[in-house]
């Protein structure tokens, strides 16, 4: 297929740590990814790890003018043996060289090793899009060095690719710095892959089966060879084609390889087709009724979906697969060809569909209906959108061409503001200073002076200091997130030196205008910016029964009232549970000094100890970085009184479809929506207990998402444009 983009939107370097001469998952992914990127109007430079001996895998790229395949040993002639592979260090070196010549906009690398090496060079910061599939599994304890390397990869990355929503959840937990950056690409199958035209249904009691792939112990290929013979004893005739020539060794069972070889060549009902090209393997597979992807139980633990299973589905070949959660989600609870690790379960399932052609037809239909989401065209749309989202040109040009400096004492919740500033002006530096400024005045002053525009996040503690050190021609912007907290510092600052005030809350702007004598044209309102698209993820089943709380401190929240509400909810329905996501004060290194607060915790714990059945419905969960994932299971968020201050986490929860409830107070409805305030705990319990029906809850959840849309990044753009340029 030839595709000639009218204009090249970007230059992409693509590398996957696999040998292009072999047919395996990594090379199939690499070629698919090159095809996908070519369709996003990118020019793709595909660097290989090995010299091309067989062009078979590269054939789909023939005719794509915007894909350049780079031989890793270009110009070295026969001096390099054909089986030589580049080392990780050599690959990184080659990419640096290629980048110097071609200056890539994005670097996409598959695998931890090469991604780590590229991050170490510091050459590709902000352009790296790694696809790290080899994360440490939950049962293993990665070393600090490994975690640090993963963190550095994430910090160097503009975006990180992950295969599925599950992979994203795990990545955000394992590598907190990846939160906000993960793009789900999904396994890909060709758009034109479909069933064999004009195929006829098999007669009852006869089936054609196929297995394609490597022969390995965990893949149950040895046991599979027994299936036709055992089915024959049940009066079912299964003709099984085995495609592939890669017979693996087994460390656990040294005789396994020899037995496999014997079984595939001599088992009754088994035909060994040997190794075939990808196209031939597909053509061969299409003639089958069922395709085997049966696995040992130890392979049930996966965040990912097998491309092979999806290909079977697309070809109308009903896959025989282990009944694991990912497959149930794909094919539905009542799919008839689910099996477990036992041979008996495979025999039973195959016999069932062999004797009932209608059931087989149902299975094929379910399989074909399941895969639209995984077509390459869908991935093209998703990746193209993700690429373009990072490529918005700056909307304004700053005088003097000097960068914007975003400065504050705590910028942990300022990613949204940083993104908006970047989209507005391009070059944005970030500085988080020690609040005391002790002994650091000169370096901080130098940092300040180098900026064309200084945005001070919160007036406390730097704004008064910055107003007395404003450089000639510099523009100073105060970002006020909470007027009450900042009011004293604003009184200390030289307000005439501040060129623009940006308020997060409209009521704060009005209150400031009423109190301070500042020209109205210098006052702006920019809503709290949130990357709504990133947080918009499918909710998990049963979320309407889970109530969340983000704070435990009595000064910030009232967890005791949440416990009281839970008591009421459990009286209505015993499926409710409460999830408190905060550090436990009694786990902290230092207990709070406030004796009242200590008493409060003791009373809370004693109360729970006295009601073990209630306590068993309360989860105290650690505040890890994977909040967006946590929101998927939470239906309701109880938010304490904020007295007008907007908590970014609450808006993020709304973007994820969580329904917010807060005690009634002035401004509460403006912050969280008209339905959010409640007048009593009884009313709160009634409103939650009345929405246990999934459809009813879905309506509330959709309204919540709609509410959060008002905080999407573009909503704040025009106010910041004006603030930065005047």
């Amino acid at each position: 297929m030839s595709h000639q983009p009218t204009t090249v939107e970007r230059r992409v370097l693509l590398y996957g740590d696999g040998n292009i001469n072999l047919i395996d998952g990594s090379t199939i992914w690499l070629v698919s990814m090159a095809q996908v990127l070519a369709r996003t109007n990118s020019h793709v430079t595909l660097l290989l790890k090995a010299r091309v001996v067989s062009r078979k895998m590269l054939e789909p790229l023939d005719g794509l003018d915007n894909v350049t395949v780079v031989d890793p040993f270009e110009g070295l002639g026969d001096a390099v043996p054909p089986n030589k592979l580049l080392s990780i260090e050599e690959v990184a070196h080659r990419i640096v060289e290629l980048d110097r010549a071609r200056r890539f906009d994005k670097i996409i690398s598959r695998g931890f090793g090469i991604s780590n090496e590229l991050a170490r060079t510091h050459e590709f910061d902000g352009r790296l899009w790694p696809y790290v599939i080899d994360l440490p599994e939950p049962g293993t304890d990665p070393t600090p060095e490994r975690l640090r390397d993963l963190e550095e990869i994430a910090l160097a990355s503009e975006r990180m690719l992950v295969q599925t929503e599950d992979s994203r959840s795990y990545m955000e937990y394992r590598v907190p710095a990846s939160a906000g950056k993960c793009v789900v690409i999904n396994p890909m199958i060709p758009d034109d892959l479909g069933p064999l035209p004009g195929r006829t249904a098999p007669s009852a009691g006869r089936l054609q089966g196929v297995y394609a792939g490597k022969f390995a112990e965990g893949w149950k290929t040895l046991e599979l060879c027994d299936v036709p013979g055992l089915l024959a004893e049940r009066g079912v005739r299964l003709s099984l084609s085995m495609i592939g020539d890669k017979i693996m060794h087994s460390v656990r069972t040294p005789t396994w390889r020899a037995r496999m070889k014997a079984a595939v060549t001599s088992s009754p009902g088994v035909q060994w087709a040997g190794g075939l090209s990808r196209d031939d393997a597909m053509a061969y597979s299409k003639t089958a009724d069922i395709g085997f992807s049966w696995r040992a139980q130890e392979l049930d633990s996966t965040h990912e979906l097998s491309t092979k299973v999806l290909e079977y589905c697309a070809m109308g070949v009903a896959p025989v697969v282990n009944r694991i959660a990912a497959h149930v989600e794909l094919l539905g609870e009542d799919y008839p060809l689910f099996v477990d690790a036992s041979l008996e379960s495979v025999l039973d399932a195959v016999e069932r569909v062999a004797r009932d052609p209608d059931l087989l037809e149902q299975a094929r239909k379910k399989a074909m209906d399941a895969i639209d989401h995984y077509r390459m065209a869908t991935t093209v749309r998703r990746i193209h959108a993700a690429l373009r989202a990072t490529e918005t040109p700056p909307r304004v040009t700053l005088a003097g061409g000097r960068p914007v400096l975003l400065v504050g004492a705590d910028l942990s919740a300022s990613r949204g503001v940083h993104t908006v500033l970047h989209q507005t002006a391009g070059d944005v530096r970030v500085a988080e200073w020690d609040p005391s400024l002790k002994g650091q005045e000169q370096p901080r002053y130098d940092e300040l002076s180098a900026a064309g525009v200084v945005v001070v996040e919160d007036a406390v503690p730097y704004l008064p200091w910055a107003t007395r050190r404003k450089a000639e021609g510099q523009r100073l912007v105060a970002h006020i997130r909470d007027l009450r907290a900042d009011e004293l510092a604003l009184r200390e600052a030289r307000l005439e030196e501040i060129d623009a005030f940006v308020f997060q809350a409209a009521p704060d702007l009005a209150a400031f205008a009423a109190t301070f004598d500042v020209p109205a044209e210098r006052l702006h309102h920019a809503p709290l910016p949130v990357d709504v698209a990133y947080l918009d993820r499918p909710g998990l089943p049963g979320r309407q029964f889970r109530v969340g709380v983000l704070d435990l401190r009595p000064s910030a929240a009232r967890p005791d009232t949440a416990v009281t509400a839970l008591r009421g909810l459990l009286a209505a329905d015993d499926r409710f549970s409460l999830h408190v996501r905060d550090h436990l004060p009694w786990e902290a290194a230092h207990l709070p000094d406030d004796q009242l607060e200590r008493d409060y915790y003791q009373a809370l714990v004693a109360g729970l100890a006295a009601e073990p059945e209630l306590a068993a419905r309360i989860a105290f969960e650690r505040p890890d970085a994977d909040l967006p994932t946590w929101y998927r299971k939470i239906g309701w968020l109880l938010v304490p009184r904020r007295r007008g201050r907007l908590d970014p986490r609450v808006v993020e929860a709304q973007a994820a479809g969580v329904v917010v409830r807060t005690p009634v107070e002035p401004g509460a409805a403006e912050l969280y929506g008209d339905d959010a305030p409640y007048e009593s705990l009884d009313a709160l319990v009634r409103s939650i207990a009345a929405a246990t029906d999934s459809a009813e809850f879905a309506k509330l959840s959709a309204a919540s998402r709609l509410r959060a849309a008002g905080h999407d990044l573009p909503a704040a753009a025009s106010a910041w444009d004006a603030a930065l340029t005047g």
Partner: protein, 216 residues
């Protein structure tokens, strides 16, 4: 409540700092400097002791009759674990029960000698432990594995009650951490008949069998 930081935690922290310093010999680009400030950091509990550093914390020598002690039967006096309310109620008819929820360890709950730790897969599908078997609940899964490790330390058996729910990413880890997975096929002696189980195990087996067969 922690009294002081253990030696291994201090050593771990030092090593992390050293590692960061080494890594940052190359100056940060403006992009990475900004990301370092804006990105969430590793929480302490996700950082682990390196493999290649020998453990020097004092370890008490096991008593000489350790093997003998392990062989001698200890009567089960309490079932602690991750349980659905229904199972907790049924078990409480035959022995004391403590159903733990996430974070319960911080509230003082412990597995003690004489306990049996029961992890019920059905309890991971909804309620406080929901998502613990999935990619969305890794922290909860690790917490359950911590409970299993603690049970092993006090030689309390760990029993996993299976269910008809499809296996998820954490299921195999839970199976691996258990001493026994129930239900299991009834063992029958050809002459003497079915091999009897203790009343507690028998009840647990019935509960697990119902969960596996009922949900299918």
């Amino acid at each position: 409540m922690p009294a002081s930081l253990p030696v291994r935690a201090v050593r771990k922290a030092r090593r992390i700092v050293r590692g960061r310093r080494r890594h940052r010999e190359v100056a940060d680009s403006p992009f990475r400097a900004a990301e370092r400030i804006l990105s969430p950091r590793y929480p302490e509990h996700l950082l682990t002791e390196p493999d290649d550093e020998p453990e020097t914390d004092t370890v008490e020598a096991p008593p000489a009759d350790d093997d003998a002690a392990r062989r001698s039967p200890v009567p089960v006096t309490r079932a602690a674990g991750v349980l659905t309310p229904g199972t907790a109620r049924r078990l409480s008819e035959v022995l004391a029960v403590t159903a733990v929820s996430p974070g319960a360890r911080a509230l003082g709950a412990r597995v003690e000698p004489g306990d049996v730790l029961v992890v019920e897969r059905a309890a991971l599908q909804s309620g406080p432990w929901s998502t613990a078997e999935t990619s969305s609940g890794t922290a909860l899964l690790l917490e359950i594995l911590d409970w299993c490790a603690e049970a092993r330390e006090v030689e309390a058996p760990v029993v996993l009650l299976d269910s008809g729910d499809p296996p998820n990413v954490g299921t195999n880890l839970l199976r691996g951490a258990a001493d026994v997975v129930l239900p299991r096929p009834q063992q029958v002696d050809p002459v003497l008949g079915p091999v009897p189980m203790s009343p507690v195990v028998s009840l647990l087996d019935r509960i697990a069998r119902a969960a596996v067969e009922g949900d299918r």
